[in-house]
Symmetry: none
DNA sequence: ACCGATCTCCTCCTCGCGGATGAGGCTCGC
DNA sequence: GCGAGCCTCATCCGCGAGGAGGAGATCGGT
């Protein structure tokens, strides 16, 4: 049972190279190539490949949009559609991230090891796994600070009430607004805010908001 | 030039299996095995492997702590230490994420395709890449929703200069600080800020900061 | 030549913010 | 019981922020 692969990239030379790599494996087969997103949709429609290797930056229609369309069309027909692997040039390509959200199963650096790409195709085809590039680490560090952050030591010194007003101030509320939602006087709020700023070493509530977001202390 | 691999897992049967897989490759070599975190540290100390395959849940000392220690010790000696790949049982293991933060280069599902593991070892050893399991998708969906918002339509109405001061204000700078870094008078900054607030429908710079973070308009 | 947008800067005015300081009431643990 | 910590509220004071309104300069398009 061979895995049917479709190639989508605007550079013909690149497609040629990837095609060589894929064809070198007995269980992989290239069932078609496309030079832009629109061609890709038609290709998938025609050939129903198992896996699509999709470039992001392309003329006519980019890879993210094409990914959305392909998976959207498949879902509309009650099918799952092909697994899509996005090929990226840079490490943590924002477009690649968008493609993942659009439903792509993973992304691989264009200069990755050929064996890695092959393993990625098989892994993705198997269903569960998703392959990523060095991005993962950066991803975790950049997007996860919302969670599991060491939570700055100074923050622990805040009392219960101080954390309450901190949270509200972090959402952009004024002192009077905080006072109203917490059913205390504005003077009390000012005292708490003042204590919080001192404890956290911040200048004003503006920096408090920055601090809150930078340390993932805002719940949404 | 063979890649020297160390195995760390409390289940001997599992180690045996992985060992078989690794040894099946001419360019990979197993230089030692360990059954818990402490043994792992000693093993790394003794053999200086290139790559460590590390389990998370282990008696005596878990994989996350061991990862921290190993990389911490290496850093203390000015060395980079081995690349560490964490082996996880479940998809998005919180422990695995912790290990990545501790410095591990990637994580692979224990039931992943053997070829995938092999490719991961080579990829990680090559330096740049990090391998992940199906977690990546979930990660992106869980932690990235902050970014790449459609970028509010009102934001497009800002002029070039207005965006400049917006960006600086979003970082928590005061008007005078912005004036100094932009080499204009504070009065000018106030004008721009005022225009920005009006255009974006915000009350004050505090809400401006919230707006900036909520819409992923802060670059770090 | 003219208009509109943008950037620059100014003054006057009001108000919210934050620091300093003090104080009364509450619930702990010693 | 008694102090420690916390929550509550108040007053005074200085300052930065933001709105209103005006003004000169530049530049691109009509």
């Amino acid at each position: 049972m061979t895995i049917r692969v479709a190639l989508v990239d605007d550079q013909q030379m690149f497609r040629r190279g990837v095609s060589m790599i894929v064809r070198s494996q007995p269980d992989l087969e290239v069932v078609g190539e496309a030079g832009d997103g629109e061609q890709a949709i038609a290709l998938v429609e025609r050939e129903s490949p198992d896996v699509v290797l999709m470039d992001v930056r392309m003329p006519v229609m980019d890879g993210v949009t094409a990914t959305q369309r392909i998976l959207g069309d498949a879902a509309a027909r009650g099918a799952t559609g092909p697994r899509i692997i996005v090929l990226t040039t840079f490490d943590l390509d924002a477009d690649a991230a968008a493609a993942i959200r659009a439903g792509a199963s993973g992304f691989v650096l264009k200069d990755a090891d050929p064996d890695f790409l092959i393993a990625a195709i098989r892994t993705v085809h198997a269903g569960t796994a998703v392959v990523a590039a060095s991005a993962t680490r950066a991803l975790l560090e950049r997007f996860e600070p919302t969670e599991r952050k060491p939570a700055p030591p100074e923050f622990d010194t805040l009392t219960g009430r101080e954390r309450d007003v901190f949270a509200l101030a972090a959402k952009g509320l004024s002192n009077s607004e905080i006072a109203r939602t917490e059913y205390v006087s504005e003077a009390t709020v000012k005292t708490h805010i003042s204590n919080v700023l001192t404890k956290l070493g911040l200048r004003d509530r503006v920096q408090l908001v920055v601090f809150a977001y930078e340390n993932g202390l805002v719940d949404r």
